[in-house]
């Protein structure tokens, strides 16, 4: 049911609201109130004309009601919300792309973790394998040294995992062992033969192959030292190869005894 008085009331009410995008919704809401009031009066047995004028009169002063509504519909908040909504809608494709990228990376990490290290027979038979099982932290890297392997051709392999701590402020994300960080018991450094890395930026499985010690080393030192460049960035891991060799020999003797 519409009338001029009804429209005039709604016009006067919404005119007070400064944030224009809210006017249509408020108008609809007050139109419903007027309709409810009109229906109630009609049910009481009032005439159509009487019900219309009374419904509008019962709503009170439209300007006063409009000013009250204006106070609870701040234009600043309305515009800010509108801007925020647009910004969120604009970044939704980017968020989806980030989520997709993260999912692919996560799948890659799970795949890498489940497959672990790659076996090779390029350097002859495996002679010896020594578990290290040491974890060190270096800035945003958590390095877990798992194993040293010795191959027939005099090639040594260091196996280590490199996990990057998420939400760490560091930017350049490189860590790789160089031959000068590896030495035998006599201080001689090997030559790098090959380096295999699998994984993604924040989780890598590394296999470093090297050879060329002065003599067969009794122990292997992994010595990363940048403490000369502030804040003690260094770690040292010693792997006892002689003990492992003895253990390997004695276990093979036991095998023979049996």
């Amino acid at each position: 049911m519409r009338s001029d008085a009804w429209d005039a009331y709604l016009d006067a009410l919404t005119r007070e609201i400064r944030y224009r995008p809210d006017r249509a919704a408020i108008r609809r809401e007050y139109e419903d109130h007027l309709q409810d009031a009109f229906d109630a009066l009609r049910e009481e047995g009032r005439s159509e004309e009487d019900a219309l004028s009374n419904a509008v009169a019962n709503m009170g002063d439209p300007a006063e009601a409009g000013r009250a509504l204006n106070r609870s519909h701040s234009p600043l908040l309305g515009r800010l919300l509108w801007l925020m909504r647009i910004a969120v809608w604009l970044i939704i494709p980017a968020i989806l792309s980030l989520v997709l990228q993260s999912s692919v990376m996560l799948i890659h990490v799970l795949f890498t973790a489940s497959h672990g290290y790659t076996e090779t027979d390029a350097y002859g038979a495996l002679l010896d394998s020594v578990r290290i099982g040491e974890t060190v932290s270096l800035d945003n890297h958590v390095l877990t040294f798992d194993e040293v392997r010795v191959y027939e051709n005099g090639v040594y392999e260091i196996r280590y995992r490199d996990r990057i701590r998420l939400f760490d402020p560091a930017v350049d994300l490189s860590f790789a062992l160089g031959p000068e960080q590896i030495s035998g018991g006599d201080g001689s450094h090997p030559e790098s033969v090959a380096f295999r890395r699998s994984g993604v930026s924040f989780y890598n499985v590394n296999q470093h192959y090297f050879c060329g010690f002065g003599r067969t080393p009794d122990r292997l030192l992994i010595d990363f030292d940048r403490s000369d460049l502030y804040k003690g960035r260094s770690f040292r891991i010693t792997v006892d190869l002689a003990h492992a060799r003895e253990a390997a020999v004695s276990s093979s003797v036991r095998e023979v005894d049996r």
Partner: protein, 227 residues
């Protein structure tokens, strides 16, 4: 209504901030060049260095910046960066590296930057009045030397001993590629500790030009090869 809107704004703001942080993290971005420089140092497992000596934007690449800081008396730490999305700074990778530590422990330290075509350095002696940087090609570089040409540029150190020579190639009349002339001396004078001889971590480091520092009365105070 206002309270409802404030709640919604807070929620959207949280989403935007989270997204911004994730985006910056994923792309290695920072709002300020200095913050990026220190973050890169941490990623390279050294630092933080002492103080920023230079923030330099080359004329030919306005979106780039070279940030150099002092690492005690041992040398310099530098990061090459670029403007990213108009709001952030991100590392600019050249040959897989965005920067590094350059060990130079002479009393006069001078480094040439290919990307910015400039020489920067420090003089330990507070009496130093001027620094003469020589770009004469090293022996065996294969570059012909014109005996009539002056291959030197001069700089005046500031009160902290820092000096800078911009547009080096232009100052030398574009005679030859300054970098190429000094390439043979790269590995000898600027090798950071822990850099492997081969493999993915090898970094192309700037060469060290020869520099001499003089006092006001012309006395030689030190050179870049005096230690």
């Amino acid at each position: 209504m206002n309270r409802k809107r404030i709640k919604k704004i807070a929620l959207y703001l949280a989403i935007l901030i989270l997204f911004l942080l994730a985006f910056m993290k994923a792309n290695g971005l920072r709002f300020r060049p200095d913050a990026l420089h220190y973050a890169c140092e941490r990623g390279r497992h050294y630092g933080p260095s002492d103080g920023i000596l230079l923030r330099y934007t080359p004329d030919h690449a306005t979106g780039r910046m070279l940030v150099v800081s002092r690492c005690g008396g041992e040398g310099f730490s530098y990061t090459m960066m670029r403007r990213s999305y108009g709001l952030f700074w991100g590392p600019a990778y050249v040959n897989g590296s965005s920067g590094g530590f350059i060990r130079c422990d002479a009393s006069v330290k001078a480094i040439y930057s290919y990307d910015c075509d400039l020489v920067y350095g420090t003089v330990d002696d507070p009496e130093a009045f001027r620094v003469v940087v020589s770009f004469k090609p090293s022996e065996g570089s294969g570059i012909l030397i014109d005996p009539s040409f002056d291959y030197t540029v001069e700089a005046v150190p500031d009160e902290d001993g820092f000096f800078l020579v911009e547009n080096v190639t232009e100052r030398l009349g574009g005679r030859y590629d300054v970098g190429a002339a000094f390439l043979p001396s790269v590995s000898a004078s600027c090798e950071p500790p822990g850099t492997p001889a081969s493999g993915q971590n090898v970094k192309m480091l700037p060469p060290t030009p020869y520099a001499e520092a003089f006092s006001a009365d012309g006395t030689l105070l030190g050179t870049s090869r005096d230690r």
